[in-house]
């Protein structure tokens, strides 16, 4: 647990708008260690998406440093960032983002194509990952033939296929019903138990509660950071969530709406 997968220091990002420079993110410091399960919360416009894009190497910061597995990636070239996205990170999106024309197996194998793996390696690795998320029997199907929850499982399999150091999940349950959401969150829990670092962005407190640590953004700044290190709702369904207020909330003084 000692090694830091992610360490950001004084990270800031400004966008040029018609009204001048708009600071979306201001001086964020955060360290995420190997094996952590962390939820990033905050209302829309709080800067959490900007932060996520920076963590995901999709964007570069205006100021500050970002150390990913000890390497400062804040000012890397585009191709080097693409390689990091391919080898070190795994993405899970709200909209699943599977390629509609490809079989599930080919979808899962896609990161390996960009990693330069040969066909047999790709096929074998994709099979292993599909089996891991319990969808091995649909390997040759197209994404449109399976449910949303299943698609998200495939997306998770794709994120895992290149054996990344951490998974970045951006509102992974945003398009799913509560029951399917629980299934996906259970899968994340299992992956974390295997030692995979997970960073989860959500604005739903009950989803955030699955993580062992919650950080909260407001107006581009990190305003709270709380470690709970427990899984109080594991497998208990949505009813249980309402009886346990999310751990991060009381610190905010009730001024922030949950979304």
């Amino acid at each position: 647990m000692a090694e830091a997968v992610i360490r950001v220091a004084g990270l800031g990002k400004s966008y040029a708008t018609a009204a001048g420079l708009f600071p979306a993110l201001r001086g964020v410091d955060l360290t995420i260690k190997t094996g952590e399960y962390i939820a990033i919360m905050g209302p829309s416009g709080s800067g959490k998406s900007t932060f996520m894009n920076l963590l995901g190497c999709l964007d570069t910061p205006t100021v500050g440093d970002y150390f990913l597995t000890g390497e400062n990636v804040a000012h890397m070239e585009k191709d080097a960032l693409a390689k990091l996205r391919n080898r070190t990170l795994g993405f899970v999106f709200q909209g699943f983002n599977l390629l509609p024309r490809m079989s599930l197996q080919d979808n899962v194998a896609l990161p390996l194509v960009y990693a330069g793996a040969d066909k047999e390696t790709r096929r074998a690795a994709a099979r292993v990952m599909l089996d891991k998320v319990g969808l091995g029997q649909y390997a040759e199907s197209l994404p449109s033939r399976i449910s949303g929850g299943q698609q998200q499982r495939v997306a998770i399999a794709r994120a895992l296929v290149n054996k990344p150091r951490l998974i970045l999940a951006d509102e992974p349950t945003g398009n799913l019903d509560s029951h399917t959401s629980e299934e996906i969150m259970r899968l994340f829990g299992e992956l974390n138990a295997e030692g995979i670092t997970i960073v989860l962005v959500t604005h739903e407190p009950d989803i955030a509660a699955h993580a062992k640590r919650q950080v909260r953004f407001l107006d581009g700044e990190l305003v709270s950071d709380q470690v709970t290190d427990s899984l109080p709702f594991n497998g208990m369904g949505i009813g249980a969530v309402e009886t346990h207020p999310p751990p991060g909330l009381p610190l905010e003084g009730g001024g922030v709406p949950p979304c």
Binding site: N53, G56, L58, D59, K78, D79, A82, K83, R85, N86, R87, F91, F93, N97, L99, R101, M102, L110, P111, V113, Y114, A115, G116, K119, R122, R158, N162
Partner: protein
Amino acid sequence: MLKAMFGEAWLAMGANRLRSALTMLGMVIGVAAVVIMLAIGQGAQYAVQQSISTMGSNLFILLSGSFTTAGVRSGSSGAPTLNVSDAEAISELEGIANVAPTHQGTRQLVYGAQNWSAMVVGTTPPYLDARAWTIASGAAFADSDVRSATRVALIGKTVAENLFGDDDPLGKTMRIQQNPFTVVGVLGAKGQSFDGRDQDDTVIIPLSTAQRKVFGTPFLGSVRMIMVQAESGEAMPQTEKSVVALLRQRHRLREGMPNDFFLRNLSAVAESEAETTRTMSILLGAIASISLIVGGIGIMNIMLVSVTERTREIGIRMAIGARQKDILTQFLLEAVVLSFAGCLLGLLIGLGVALGINFFTGMVIVISGSAGLIAFAVAAAVGIFFGWYPARKAAQLDPIEALRYQ
């Protein structure tokens, strides 16, 4: 990696079959047009070259001059200004391959109950070489026949067919102007000349015999025409100059006096004909190339639409590790696959149409491997050229924007 991308390009084409087919249609038409035009153009050039080679190459003729009597001008060959010794002198010059004094005219031929009118050429043996005549059967007459004015004749294929029918003309006797001539050889077939005359409708006899027995001549030894063949095309202008200078000297023409003979360059006519067909085929090729470019623009158009449509897909690919280069390659490959498939189809259709033209109209068609190769290279170039801009546009998308695109 490239193989996987190739498969994806194929998949992307298959996903939108009608659109891919319509996009390809531009290339199909362009390539087919190029192939057909090249086949026709090269066919025409081939036909012209064939007729040039039957006429004989690097030829010019000297015609004796004209005279004027009581205001009536005789036209060329009216005055007996050229003679056999002029021909002999010319053959001594440098750069001359063959010289043949010639006297020709149309005469009635009689064999048994048949008769036929044909061009009768009185000349010397070098004429056969100069005009590229071959002997199909029998043998040509020799210089000794010219010296002793023997009555022998070489006949063309048309004459043989019309006068002798199924008989073998060799050794038979036919009459020209009441004079009996023995057929010693049949000439190889040549076909039509440039002016549409049947070159095989010809009888060749020794010059001396022709002048004494057939045409008659006011002054013995004078000839109406001398055919001269230069050794090479490049030497032609120099050869012409030296021949003119020699004749002016021999005819004692002073500075400022006009030539008393005419010089006509036969090859020039043929070459201008060849030049015309070459220009025509270049023109046809150029027009066809325009349709190829239009086809390429069609590909670019569809690729741009495709990039916009698949913005999200590009974002996803970038998020999971595709470099700009990978995206560029993918879209470029799609464009090239489209243009190659179109090219292949166009090649087949073009070949089919060219063969059809040949079959139904009998037009000479030349299908060269290089034309196909050029078409392929052009298709690849068009694919890359017109695919480049859309592919670069795709590769330069911002991953965040692309992921957010609906």
